[in-house]
């Protein structure tokens, strides 16, 4: 009996130490000890100070088909925004037709969720929306949400035509669209002919900093009565 009492703690220690465990089906199993590779120690990485770099995607966007008579509606149309005093630039930059990625062509809104809104000054059938947030550096803008409405306050008749807020961190609902890396050809969104006068675009910072930027937004469509 004494030997059994002595053996039990020893057996326990052995099991503990070697990782042997007994499963309920009676088959002996052992804890899988993974030998995972360690990180390599490497020297200081390249310092990149945002030159006018064009991100090579390998693939150009293919042709996008729209109804005949579709025209650019947003050029020089009024823009309002959640940040009435942008950190850099003016809200008018959003529709001024300048799409350069260089300094002086983008408007910078503050951190957290921010939006800009374009008033097309009439109701149109929308067939394409192109967005350039900031394309001189590879970065991803968070929670890109595009909504359209007839109501300038976006209280009634709001339709969401793009939403990549996959974790609902902006509080406008979970979106199924993918996040994307900014490139010089902009992000093309298909509004599928939705009728609206106002277009509101949301974002919540980016992978480089907390700020929100717009170089240009282009809205294409056709008049409703045509």
């Amino acid at each position: 009996m004494f030997l059994i009492f002595l053996a039990l703690p020893l057996l326990f220690l052995f099991v503990w130490d070697t990782g042997i465990a007994f499963q309920d089906n009676g088959q002996e199993k052992v804890v899988l000890e993974l030998k995972l590779p360690k990180p390599m120690f490497v020297g200081t990485p390249r310092n990149i100070r945002s030159a006018n770099l064009e991100r090579v995607t390998g693939k150009k966007r293919g042709p996008f088909y729209v109804p005949e008579g579709t025209e650019l509606l947003s050029l020089n149309k009024p823009v309002t925004g959640s940040d009435t005093a942008p950190v850099i630039g003016e809200l008018e930059f959003v529709t001024d037709g300048e799409k350069s990625g260089e300094e002086g062509y983008f408007v910078e809104l503050g951190p957290m969720v921010q939006w800009v809104q374009i008033d097309l000054e009439d109701t149109y059938s929308l067939h394409a929306i192109l967005i350039w947030h900031y394309h001189s550096q590879a970065r991803v803008y968070r929670d890109v949400i595009v909504q359209v409405s007839e109501d300038p306050d976006f209280i009634t008749g709001v339709q969401t035509i793009y939403n990549n807020d996959h974790d609902n961190s902006s509080g406008l609902g979970i979106g199924k669209d993918k996040e994307y890396i900014e490139v010089n050809e902009g992000r093309l969104i298909d509004p599928r002919g939705v009728k609206a006068r106002y277009v509101r675009l949301f974002s919540r910072g980016n992978t480089s900093n907390d700020m929100n930027h717009y170089v240009e937004v282009e809205v294409y469509g056709t008049p409703v009565n045509e």
Binding site: P37, P39, T44
Partner: protein, 513 residues
């Protein structure tokens, strides 16, 4: 208030400024790639008591051994419990030590020169920024200044104690960063040239025994540290063999190659994009004035010019050599910038001394005051606002603040995973895109790092996979919609993708609701 009391009060103020700029919010900036490398290397020493000098990476061992007491106090022997503040406190306190060491230069520099050097060292954006950086540079500057200060005291006293102190500082500088030999060369040449251009009697001759004490103490300190306190005697040989590697790097600088005016341009004027203007030109201009003053016999009167001229020649040679080496990173400015700061202090003292009346003196003092305030303002902006912003010239290949969102996401997922921090994480990235993950994931027990997707094995069941962007296509082909992907910024232009197993992702979203 007499002169001595005014000096004491103002110098204490400079020390307080140095402390405040260096120790407040040390956790603010995400760990840099290089800091994480050093931290993980230190972690091995902390937890296992193991250190083997690596002649290819990481530089000398002094940083790790000096970090030990800091870590013991804060986290015992636990690497997981260690934090950024504890690690960065090491260079931060050495940064404050640099200001205090200047006091040993009295009799070689005037009191006001030392005071202004102390103020510049305390508030210079460059000095402050890298005093908050867990790499070797600030320690190296402290030890190099220690060599200058202790050898100056030896010159005045001819005592064995200062000879030993000089040797200890030499040994510590060598055990901090092998490239200190560039500074040693500049110090040696500076001494020769200073003697050549200074016609004053040598005084009491140095004793041979003091020479042996100096060399012996330097060799002993270097041997103890490089040999891991006798555990790895080969370390001292490796430290010499490392020159091959470091001089190779200096010549073939790759993407760290910059033209010779890189450092001076950065110090005089920097502006990136819409960011603010950065300039430490005040210090440079005063350093030029201080250099000229070091050769002005009328101003020097009966004061020995030896130390000033020695610092001038050292600074000139070191600045030239570091500028001519193609391999450049902003922190490599520090070893010669401390000389520039000393000369700038001398320049400020010269301008005040040469002011003929109270009005001129007040005007000079006011200009210096505004300049110091501007330096302090920039130091504040560089360290508390633009600390990870590439519009700050001293931010170099810095980890983005967005990277902390990645870490938070992984921790959130671990919280809902049954194994918590035992959750399997596979990191599949290019070698230089893995850091600083090993530091931030140090609390996770099952993290593997690969550079090749195929070598990483199966991925379908892995709770979290972190990958380089250009490996995404290959990784996603293995997933078949089993994972939710997200992007996070690692550094400017460098993104990482995080793939979270769908069941965990859904549970995470449910918990958020």
């Amino acid at each position: 208030m007499n002169k001595k009391a005014a000096f004491t009060a103002l110098f204490l103020l400079a020390v307080c400024a140095a402390i405040l700029f260096r120790v407040v919010r040390l956790d603010l900036r995400p760990m840099h790639h290089d800091e994480a490398n050093q931290a993980v290397k230190f972690g091995e020493l902390l937890e296992k008591g193991e250190y083997r000098y690596d002649p290819i990476e990481h530089h000398g061992p002094s940083l790790y051994y000096i970090s030990l007491p800091f870590a013991w106090i804060s986290s015992g022997k636990s690497f997981v419990a260690l934090d950024e503040v504890t690690l960065r406190l090491v260079p931060a306190l050495f940064g404050v030590g640099i200001v205090l060491l200047l006091l040993l230069l009295k009799d070689g520099f005037s009191g006001s020169a030392i005071l202004f050097s102390g103020i510049f060292a305390a508030v210079s954006p460059l000095m402050v920024f890298y005093s908050r950086f867990y790499i070797q540079e600030t320690l190296l500057v402290f030890f190099l200044l220690g060599v200058i200060a202790a050898s100056w005291r030896y010159h005045l006293s001819r005592t064995w104690g200062w000879a030993a102190a000089t040797g200890i500082f030499i040994g510590l500088a060598y055990a901090t960063k092998e490239t200190c030999v560039i500074a040693f060369g500049a110090l040696f040449m500076g001494l020769l040239l200073a003697r050549l251009f200074t016609k004053e009697p040598l005084g009491e001759k140095p004793r041979l025994v003091h020479g042996f004490i100096l060399i012996g103490s330097a060799a002993l300190v270097a041997f103890l540290l490089f040999s891991s306190f006798f555990q790895n005697p080969k370390g001292i040989v490796d430290s010499i063999l490392s020159f091959q590697s470091y001089f190779g790097k200096a010549g073939e600088a790759g993407f760290h190659s910059y033209p010779w005016p890189y450092y001076l341009k950065m110090l005089i004027f920097s502006r990136y994009g819409s960011g603010p203007v950065w300039s430490e030109a005040l210090i440079l201009v005063l350093a030029v004035i201080g250099s000229v003053a070091a050769f002005n016999s009328n101003w020097l009167k009966d004061r020995s010019p030896l130390l000033m001229r020695f610092v001038f020649f050292f600074t000139f040679i070191a600045t030239a050599v570091y500028s001519l080496i193609p391999y450049k990173t902003p922190w490599n400015m520090l070893p010669f910038f401390i000389g520039i700061i000393l000369l700038a202090g001398n320049g400020a003292a010269f301008l005040l001394d040469r002011s003929k009346n109270m009005a001129a003196w007040s005007l000079v003092l006011a200009i210096l005051g505004v300049g110091v305030f501007h330096l302090g303002y920039q130091a504040h902006a560089a360290n508390f606002r633009y600390y990870a912003d590439s519009r700050n010239p001293y931010v170099y290949a810095q980890t983005s603040t967005d990277f902390l969102n990645l870490v938070k996401r992984v921790e959130d997922i671990a919280r809902i995973h049954p194994d918590h921090k035992g959750m399997l994480i596979k990191v599949i990235t290019h070698a230089d895109e893995a850091w600083p993950l090993p530091w931030y994931l140090r609390g996770f027990t099952r993290v593997g790092y690969w550079q090749d997707v195929d070598e990483a094995g199966t991925l379908e069941d892995v709770p979290v996979v972190i990958s380089s962007i250009d490996l995404m296509e290959k990784i996603q082909a293995k997933f078949q919609e089993t994972h939710q992907g997200e992007f996070f910024g690692l550094r400017p232009e460098v993104l990482l993708a995080v793939h979270i197993r769908m069941d965990l992702w859904k549970k995470f979203l449910e918990n958020r609701r």
